[in-house]
Symmetry: C2
Subunit: 343 residues, 2 copies
DNA sequence: AATTAGCACTCGGTTGTCAAGAGTGCTAAC
DNA sequence: GTTAGCACTCTTGACAACCGAGTGCTAATT
């Protein structure tokens, strides 16, 4: 399935043109604007071949050609990736966030930059805190019968909740709980907290029964609170593209993106690759079958922790986006390393 | 500017019809579907009067009439409000959130319910934490040279951030800082923390200079972290209305709503009224001049703390929405009271 | 054998016209 | 004061005609 030099050049030109214009590309345009040294008629022949091979499509008989999903794929895989390997990422952006805010803020900032830069919508998944280990678990008194639980994990996630109790709790009791909770749980992951540990914990504390009960509540809370979160930025960017002039399309895509659970299903599979690119029909959900998605992962402790994606029309500026995403990924990793293990 | 019984009835019928159909209402429809006991011709005369008085508009000569902003206004003020005073809010929804999560989660939940119920977009402003007093300010060790700051205020807001230091900090030093910070700051509002307090605080602590410096960082952080936040739910509801079949309109309104600062400017003025209704041109920003906004406030300690709003087309089901919002407001107040001062 | 010029053909988009339908305003009759 | 009747206005949808962009094929050219 290898493309001859000329076919390749034509395919590249078509995709390049279509990316910027969003209009089907005809043989004449091609001959005029890209000095390929051949006439429209020849180009037409080649285009007919490329269509037969499945790289191009015709919206209707008398229109120019547009790239098929397969066409984009070969463009990304063969043409871009080779070129990209040589290029180095430019200094596109500046991420501050070095010394304030938790990881969500950092990600939000990165998303904002990406969306501004690429004009596409960006989505991040926060680290799944259940896998990361507990650094601090601190109870603070809120009221005579309610406490604030603060959970800090080694992946930089900070979660908090208020828990209301049935009975009054004293600051002394809170101190005792804090001591035991931290002694028993620090260094463990949320997943590892099983019934045994809970039981042991309860037994080791000398406190009224209904306050011991708090331990169970906290355990449940941790589990429910430590899920992956979805952050989104730049949804209105979709309005910038002519392919989304159609209101039903925008509606479909925006509704889909608004649905956190769907986004999780869509993006979780990519948490293991450094970079994933899915084009059109390669995506698993109907709602995004006319989109392309580029996902990179960021690491914590050298392990894949979460992802940053951009989603936009198939006619995407892959080259630019890949460069930017690579760059963001690298920076994010650097910042996170600095940030989580001293400088 | 008082309306005779018949004119009032006709206006009410027109608005009622237009709210459900989104189509200009003609005299015949009116005569057929609302037994007013008069013929289309008479209705036409009355409609001409109502138009002259400014309560109705005609999109074009040969269309039916639609309510003007002024028409909606009199409908809401005179017709609805009178009727509403008698009605009692139904048991529309169920707010859990009683014993877990901070105030943001509670608000998010309320928004979700409101958006599901009304099919409009809902927006909440969190309490402005700078005005509320500090309940707890706790530093937790994160790394040898970074700490987590957790701030709990009496309005139920919990904020946290990681601060990275230039030098190593010991857990003993953190304890000392905690002790002093809480002794000096607890019970004060963020606004009240001035230079004097900072200085006093610094002087009273016996720690290396660069750790004292942390106090300044915390002060700055508090100020920057305690702003009002904007929560939004159900943006895609706009797609449900025929008046937003126009892509440029949706684009305008969604972009506006995405812009947190704009929303703040728009809604801050309403923080003092129990309920505010602004219709079309009554709104301050061009982008929402074809929308109506209904805002209710929720209280903490009997003081207005934040707001919940819904935003939708002018052709809004005011009656239903007002009932729901009243209900949500009341419940929210009850829950917050329970929640923040024990039960 | 590959390339190119020429030409007929296709098809979507635009424009213009026309008729139908909904609704009004006015006048005259009740 | 109310209503029936009628002429008038304006929008909408359908249909036809036309234009232009682009193709595929064939025959001529290199």
């Amino acid at each position: 399935m290898i493309l001859t030099g000329r076919k390749r050049k034509i395919l590249e030109a078509i995709i390049g043109d279509y990316i910027t214009t969003a209009e089907p590309v005809g043989s004449r345009t091609l001959a005029k604007n890209y000095n390929l040294g051949i006439s429209p008629a020849t180009i037409r022949n080649e285009m007919a071949d490329l269509e037969e091979m499945g790289y191009l499509e015709q919206p209707h008989t008398s229109a120019g050609r547009i790239p098929s999903d397969k066409g984009y794929r070969v463009y990304v895989d063969e043409i871009l990736m080779n070129r990209h390997a040589v290029r180095s990422g430019g200094e596109f952006f500046y991420l501050k966030g070095l010394n304030s805010g938790g990881i969500e803020k950092l990600l939000k900032e990165a998303l904002k930059i990406i969306s501004d830069l690429t004009e596409y919508t960006s989505i991040a998944l926060t680290p799944h805190a259940a896998e990361s280990t507990i650094k601090q678990l601190e109870l603070l008194q809120f009221n005579e019968n309610s406490v604030v639980v603060v959970l800090v994990t080694d992946s930089g996630t900070i979660k908090n909740t208020i828990i209301k109790l049935n009975s009054v709790i004293s600051s002394k009791e809170i101190d005792i709980l804090n001591l035991h909770l931290n002694r028993m749980l620090k260094g463990h992951s949320v997943e590892e907290i099983n019934e045994n540990i809970i039981k042991e914990l309860k037994d080791s504390i000398n406190l009224p029964v209904d306050i011991k009960w708090l331990v169970c509540v906290i355990k449940n809370l941790l589990v429910s609170e430590t899920g992956t979160e979805v952050l989104v930025e730049g949804t209105t960017n979709f309005f910038k593209f002519p392919e989304y002039r159609d209101i039903d399309r925008v509606k479909t895509i925006l509704s889909f993106i608004e649905d956190t659970r769907m986004i999780l299903n869509l993006l979780m599979p990519f948490t293991n690759n450094d970079i994933s690119i899915t084009i059109g029909s390669e995506n698993t959900f109907e709602e995004v079958k006319d989109c392309s998605i580029i996902t990179v992962t960021y690491n914590i402790k050298g392990k894949n922790a979460g992802t940053i994606s951009i989603i936009g029309p198939k006619r995407m500026n892959y080259e630019r986006v890949i460069t930017i995403m690579d760059d963001v990924g690298a920076r994010l990793n650097r910042i996170l390393t600095d940030y989580l293990y001293g400088k």
